[in-house]
Symmetry: C2
Subunit: 228 residues, 2 copies
């Protein structure tokens, strides 16, 4: 059992190191040696878990959707909103998530790596939630959940990218609030709108709910120096 | 005059070759030699126009916004819609545009190259159009043109990227139609909505208006084999 726990922890350390290196250098320039140095594990341990750079990249991509974890809500549309803000917030602090996003977005990622997989995973997960929202009467009858979700995943991808290029993601939460302000009137039944929360600080509050200590630190990081 | 025309044509050939090579290989793997071979111009001619790989990349990025050219419309919101569909359609046939998009999107593009510039150019251009739309009473009073435009540019970026990763951009026009179906009710005055055209084949029709012969060929390219 102790050995198994150690293996899980080692695998995690390797994944986190690989995410950070992929985020900083991209697929082509990343070498196993760079990941080894960052992870501080033995070569044997790394190859035991990941036989190749390809398998490392695929594992980093597969982790992405796990960062969408948020508390369950009675309004499934609110849960979808929360997921976008939580991922936006986690992008600021988590290099494994950033590495997966870079691998999915960069055209240099070779075709042997399935860059489409995270897009499909997010789509499946969010479509299931929006379909439940529809069953509960939260959505306008014109909404086709799969279309709305594809738009949401594509728009989120581009918004975080533009936010990264222009402000190193400092304004991402504000941009997500603008996205929801434009989309919600076209998808939610009018009676639901006043109860939905899609303000820019939603991500900070959702993470605080999950882990009060850590989210506090993240909120502080967000605060410009001298404002505290 | 003949010499000047030749210089303009040479510069154009180099830019188109550079766009294609950047699109296929990304910034880091592109070499001047690859561009020379593709452009079929002399080394002297290339260095006369572009002293470095950086200057080539910056010029390719600067060309991007020119691909937004569409006929003027009385409804400025329609003109914005047309621009998105025209760029979407041109992305399928124009390697110079694709190269610029890849340079702007790929994280590997070095920080010495200003990747944010095309985002800012699109934003300025579209904001000017949306402000005119607002003056003409086309927009709901709640709309802040700069916010709506930032959302539009970010969403477009991600939608084309997701479309490329999943279908090599074959479904891009359909995705743009979904984007507008979700955004228009939040930005246009209700009376304008029935008159706006944001159907998926809008790009093909706008390009046919500009250049009937060429757009015909592009529409044929879109048709799957055996359907004609």
């Amino acid at each position: 059992m102790a050995r198994q726990e150690r293996a899980i922890r080692t695998r995690r350390m390797i994944l986190e190191a690989a995410g950070a290196v992929f985020d900083e250098h991209g697929y082509a320039s990343t070498t196993i040696a760079m990941v080894l140095e960052r992870a501080e594990v033995t070569k044997g341990a790394l190859y035991f878990h990941f036989p190749s750079k390809e398998s490392l990249a695929q594992a980093v991509l597969a982790e992405q959707v796990l960062f969408g974890a948020v508390p369950s809500r009675s309004s499934k549309l609110q849960e979808v909103i929360d997921m976008t803000f939580a991922v936006g917030q986690r992008l600021r602090s988590n290099a494994l998530l950033r590495g997966g996003v870079r691998l999915a977005v960069d055209q240099e990622t070779p075709s042997g790596i399935d860059r489409g997989e995270p897009f499909r995973q997010w789509s499946r997960r969010l479509t299931a939630l929006l379909e439940r929202a529809a069953e509960q009467g939260e959505l306008l009858p014109t909404v086709r959940p799969a279309d709305t979700v594809d738009l949401l995943v594509g728009a989120f991808t581009g918004i975080q990218l533009m936010s990264r290029a222009l402000t190193d993601r400092a304004d991402l939460a504000d941009r997500l609030a603008v996205l929801w302000a434009h989309m919600l009137p076209s998808i939610a039944v009018p009676g639901l709108l006043p109860g939905l929360d899609s303000r820019a600080d939603r991500g900070v509050r959702v993470l605080a709910e999950i882990d009060p200590a850590r989210a506090g630190a993240e909120a502080e990081e967000r605060t410009p120096a001298g404002v505290r």
